[in-house]
Symmetry: C2
Subunit: 388 residues, 2 copies
């Protein structure tokens, strides 16, 4: 097993790109990743690409060869799909490929176009991440599903809409300096509370937006980095994946996400660390309640205590454990097939010290990225550490 | 690196299953694979699943968790999509996972439902495997694309519709005893020639059908097989993948499939064998011309000589190199997301001696499986060998 290093990261601005195709977006992210890495694209041995709903949004399946062209690489290219965890899974397999010595240079990332669909189209597109037979046909949409999870959490542990509003406000605050964020606007707790309801107890500002965007990472073996003078100070030291039953009705506890617990346990074991070692986290806050469930699943808060973490300041930028310094899905945006790669790019920038929010975490050495699909039927967790 | 063994294979009947869901089909294939393997499903550590157009055919993305449920396994589950090579890629990553020692027991396979769509829906669904911007919107469909490849081949090397009709007739003959085949009917060369044109020079019997079906394989490490008394006499000794430009217009030679050459070269290198060692092959004959291109890319025929291989009897059941003893996509059927797994299941049965066509290859020790996506923008090749 060799150590896997992040040689470079690239993102597009997250937001609405009505004039851009998916391949345009991924090309831009890849260009930035190669420029950041200082690695020649001819060195790339494999491309792992995440995309969720391209068949619906762009009438385009089989996107991996297209994205290899867009990225200017000529190598085996594979698409991964795991709903909103698509890029997380793509990165995970890239990490395992490099760790196993099967390749020295792999590009991983993802892309999603969503804003070209109207609201009904985007809602229907996202719905294919739920169980069509037993959820979608019964009227379940994702705001509704996460609202059920929030209600279950409140019933099990207490908590309030105001607690969730603190998560939203924190993540909007974090997004302010992030040049890639979709929403660089402050949202006060009061504004979040006053936003219109979408599925009680969730209101509009509890939800992430519809987003276009792409992410790309250049991952290399430590040997390749050393031999080629590639500056790659951050290592991916742990990777883990978990899978749960798809439909909420088939689960025993809607106030927990065991797939993420499984993924985190595996990732920590792989890295040889525990939650107490973590200095910062990027987690999958597609809804505010999802951030609460994520930090509990990662062991960064005890069950029932995650709800107060933002309100009490533990997870704010200057708290003891900053969560979603990027702005999170909530404010940075959520191009679903790109998000898992974006989270790892942001953790990398934070650990390298070149993120606009790095000033809040000058001594951070260990970061975690948590990417989830559907109502966390799928989860992928990565541990990143400063290596040198 | 440990040796990867095929402990068990499972297939559904290929054909039309209007009364079945995708999860029903995959559950049946998985049940058969576990029964064949004699491996407890609680031992499964990962599930790799191929599916191409479920977002369109069943309004169902994020299928991997559903298929883990269907297969009765609780482990990380990942969907792979590479058009008609989706299951091939899923198997390839499973093979690499076991070879690297990351897991001892992995299930890989795939599923596709297609016959629930009408002809227009199926044609549009398959079209997402081509370049939407530069092919599909210009009116290219897959029969048209492969017709262009056939014309280019005829122009470069000669050949005739009659040569292709021999491929069709051979594969229908091979499918006769196969209990899983969609078409167990003889088709004479004359009947193939007389079938209606779909895109000259291709006629109806040059094309594979629209098919529902599923495939599943239980792959284990040789150590696991030995320690658990699992009878797994066939090893996957080589895996390779290749990627080409997506659109035909971006390629220099439509009479060749370099992605498959790359995949075959890598797979042979991995196995430490060459084309001369191959005793039988299952190749991706979505159209008759595709079989010709496949055997040339695999090095089983020289460029320009593949066209005569069926007519001259080299690739017939009792020829020196039987190709598509299963019936191939042409007669066995082509549930696109399942096909790559099915091919490996059939090679395994042939090498084990328990395939209804094994009598034609009593001494076979090395088999190759060739799975392609789109117009071979993606290709995956596996080498299987009798290990004990």
């Amino acid at each position: 097993m060799t150590e896997v290093r992040v040689a470079g990261v690239g993102l597009t601005r997250f937001g609405s790109h009505p004039e851009r195709t998916g391949r345009d977006l991924f090309a831009e992210a890849a260009d930035r990743a190669f420029a950041d890495a200082g690695v020649d694209r001819n060195a790339v041995e494999e491309l792992n690409y995440g995309n969720f709903m391209g068949a619906l949004a762009e009438h385009q399946g089989h996107q991996a060869p297209l994205m290899a062209e867009a990225a200017g690489v000529r190598c085996p290219a594979t698409r991964y799909e795991s709903a909103c965890a698509s890029a997380g899974v793509a990165v995970r397999e890239a990490v395992r490929t490099v760790a196993a010595g099967d390749a020295d240079v792999v590009v991983a990332g993802g892309m999603e176009r969503m804003t070209n669909l109207d609201t009904e189209g985007a809602t229907e597109g996202l719905a294919i991440a739920a169980d069509d037979l037993f959820e979608v046909r019964a009227g379940v949409t994702f705001p509704g599903a996460y609202a059920l999870m929030a209600r279950a959490y409140f019933e099990a542990h207490g908590g309030s809409r105001e607690d969730l509003a603190h998560v939203a406000s924190k993540n909007h605050e974090n997004a302010l300096p992030n040049e890639y964020a979709q929403f660089r606007t402050e949202v006060s707790v009061e504004e979040a509370l006053d936003s219109p309801p979408i599925a009680e107890p969730l209101h509009l500002y509890d939800a992430c937006p519809i987003t276009d965007g792409a992410s790309a990472l250049v991952l290399v073996s430590e040997e390749y980095a050393a031999e080629n003078d590639v500056d790659a100070p951050v290592a991916v030291t742990g990777t883990g994946q978990g899978t749960d039953r798809m439909a909420l009705a088939d689960r025993t506890d809607l106030a927990a996400t065991p797939a993420a617990v499984d993924a985190a346990t595996a990732a920590y074991d792989d890295a040889g660390i525990g939650p107490a070692d973590v200095d910062l986290a990027e987690v999958h806050d597609c809804f505010t309640i999802a951030e609460v469930l994520a930090i509990e699943s990662l062991g960064l808060a005890e069950p029932g205590e995650g709800i107060a973490a933002a309100r009490d300041g533990h997870t704010t930028a200057d708290g003891d454990l900053p969560v979603n310094l990027s702005g999170g899905l909530k404010a940075k945006g959520h191009p679903v097939g790109a998000t898992g790669g974006s989270q790892i790019a942001e953790v990398t920038r934070l650990l390298r010290g070149d993120h606009p929010n790095s000033e809040h975490v000058p001594d951070a050495e260990v970061g975690v990225a948590h990417n989830a699909g559907g109502t966390v039927a799928s989860a992928v967790v990565h541990v990143l550490e400063v290596a040198e």
